[in-house]
Symmetry: D3
Amino acid sequence: MIYLSRQEHFNAAHKLVNPNWSREKNIAVFGPCANENWHGHNFNLIVTVAGEPDPDTGFVVDLKQLSLLIREKVIEPLDHKNLNLDVPFMMGKMPSTEILAQEIWKLLVSEIPKITQLGQLHAIKLYETPRNFVEYFGPDRSKL
Amino acid sequence: MIYLSRQEHFNAAHKLVNPNWSREKNIAVFGPCANENWHGHNFNLIVTVAGEPDPDTGFVVDLKQLSLLIREKVIEPLDHKNLNLDVPFMMGKMPSTEILAQEIWKLLVSEIPKITQLGQLHAIKLYETPRNFVEYFGPDRSKL
Amino acid sequence: MIYLSRQEHFNAAHKLVNPNWSREKNIAVFGPCANENWHGHNFNLIVTVAGEPDPDTGFVVDLKQLSLLIREKVIEPLDHKNLNLDVPFMMGKMPSTEILAQEIWKLLVSEIPKITQLGQLHAIKLYETPRNFVEYFGPDRSKL
Amino acid sequence: MIYLSRQEHFNAAHKLVNPNWSREKNIAVFGPCANENWHGHNFNLIVTVAGEPDPDTGFVVDLKQLSLLIREKVIEPLDHKNLNLDVPFMMGKMPSTEILAQEIWKLLVSEIPKITQLGQLHAIKLYETPRNFVEYFGPDRSKL
Amino acid sequence: MIYLSRQEHFNAAHKLVNPNWSREKNIAVFGPCANENWHGHNFNLIVTVAGEPDPDTGFVVDLKQLSLLIREKVIEPLDHKNLNLDVPFMMGKMPSTEILAQEIWKLLVSEIPKITQLGQLHAIKLYETPRNFVEYFGPDRSKL
Amino acid sequence: MIYLSRQEHFNAAHKLVNPNWSREKNIAVFGPCANENWHGHNFNLIVTVAGEPDPDTGFVVDLKQLSLLIREKVIEPLDHKNLNLDVPFMMGKMPSTEILAQEIWKLLVSEIPKITQLGQLHAIKLYETPRNFVEYFGPDRSKL
């Protein structure tokens, strides 16, 4: 098995507010992330595909196709958007980095096999800032 | 002369919309940056102070004091905020990286001499993304 | 399971000397790292917590609390310190990056559950330089 | 177990061409990577060794020795070379990042035990660009 | 004056050979950079435009237009190419980073005014590797 | 004029203490940087040479020679050393980044002409941490 990764990026606004909570509780829990008028980030996304290299190409997956797939399915609906208001698959969900990474997994897991017979989605790594990031390996797997 | 620099960062939301233009013209000019529901960035800010090192300390300016000054005057009003709605000194101004850098200069230029007798503000460098950034050297100076 | 990571940093001095060895043997084994008068590094530390996101917040752990915990338990005793002389939990231990990462694990493993019911310490990643780093997953686990 | 990593780099030229295919098919599959006159990259290589720290040194492996080994066995034959024409162990193989990472594994796996009794080769991570990279853990292991 | 910069990148092969010299002299002067079978790099290019912000947009130049211009005029002829064989404006020139930066200046200096009335080309910064780079400010200007 | 830069690095320990001051005053002014038992950093050094490219090589200066010169004159006496105790040219001087950059200038300014007839030392840029750095252009020049 080889693990091939591609990094893409997008910029978005969001706020962290639980609609079942009072304004006071939201501020107590989320602090400045609950700012009513939003804030935003440059997100960096790394998508990892695991598989065997194709003997004809040496590729687990063609990186150009992988990049185009990520841009179409993930970057297009997220870039220069508001995660709370503009993104259909985030509606009604808390736009934390954790939840966003899980939703990006769902967008890609059945698409990767369409561009490679030898690989499958292995991991989503999502940086909210250079110092805060999450990794997700799907609902059935833990890292160790 | 020695040029001493300190990097700080903040996260903010904004949109680029000229209120004198139609929605169509704003979209034509600003593209996705005009998204009504905002988008955002992790901004990186580098403040440069120029001066002679103090013989007693070897410092042009104490970096801890410089960091605290930048945080109080610049990061505090900008971090986790909406540049169009929440920031008094940006009210009525286009929140482009260019204009924001000029406004940050104005916030700091008279404050730097309060923490150093030997240095003065030399430059503001502001990254909107790792690939897009501006530099400003004040209203009276050009770089060459 | 989601893996959430936070990066912090500290600066410290150290030297690598085995007190049971002659000066000659220490120099033969550790080279310039055995310099009697010390040398130092900007260390970067990445702490990873594994768990399920809380349905109310979308968080495995609150990153602000995680950052404060790391700063209190790890950065405070290490930053601007001498690893051989100033740090109680390193006394009598070889201050290699490997041993330091294991000691940082011990400092945090029982503290993480105090700030999250859903997550536990998963990994310590410690950069001594941008090109030299270690990862540790606790005494009972290997990576594969 | 501790995982110790060392980063090295090399610059090389290559092209991606399957000699069993027509020029048209190569261009259709590999695009600009099939340019007959070559292109090139600054490759970054991270080699990870897993093991227990030596009680006398605190080291899984001496990083100076690890660096010299990687330079002798991997960097020397690859740096400032053409992966298709100049590198004995790549002859007749597709010089994709995937295949190159597997070949680097083969070069190092039996060499690491010569410089450490406590560690063994754990992973090869190879960046072709900052946004495209692969990881390989040997023929018998997968990451999860 | 504000200085606005945009970073783009390209991958290319080259070799450093003076056709008026013997093979021995080329190897003596250029070392491994003279490898007959080429080597290559991931080049990073930063283009800086100097000017006053447009009062209507806050922009010195529209970054999307600047990015497209750089891609059309510079990246397209250089990316995945051989600097010695494939690039019309480098024919008969030594493909050092210095000369390449000067040629990129010539490609852009008269194009920038077509996308902004307020700015002009200020600088070309070209990284051959993260540790080797050049800056050029045009034929008539020095930096200080 | 072209400006060619080369980055090197070194690790060192230091403390900031003015021997004419009491312990209390040193702690008040320098804070944790005055720790008696030292602390340390991974320093990054960028040396810039300005000049015209040689028509035969396309080089302002040969980067291999520049790298070797920097290593011999600057890195060798600083790497894995104590800036207060081990470095002859820093004796009796405050080891701030400002002073260290000025001393590195003095080490190199008369050496650069020995490896290039076309270039001269233009700037020293010294990072103490990724967020704190200084630039120096010699005793007779300011940046603007």
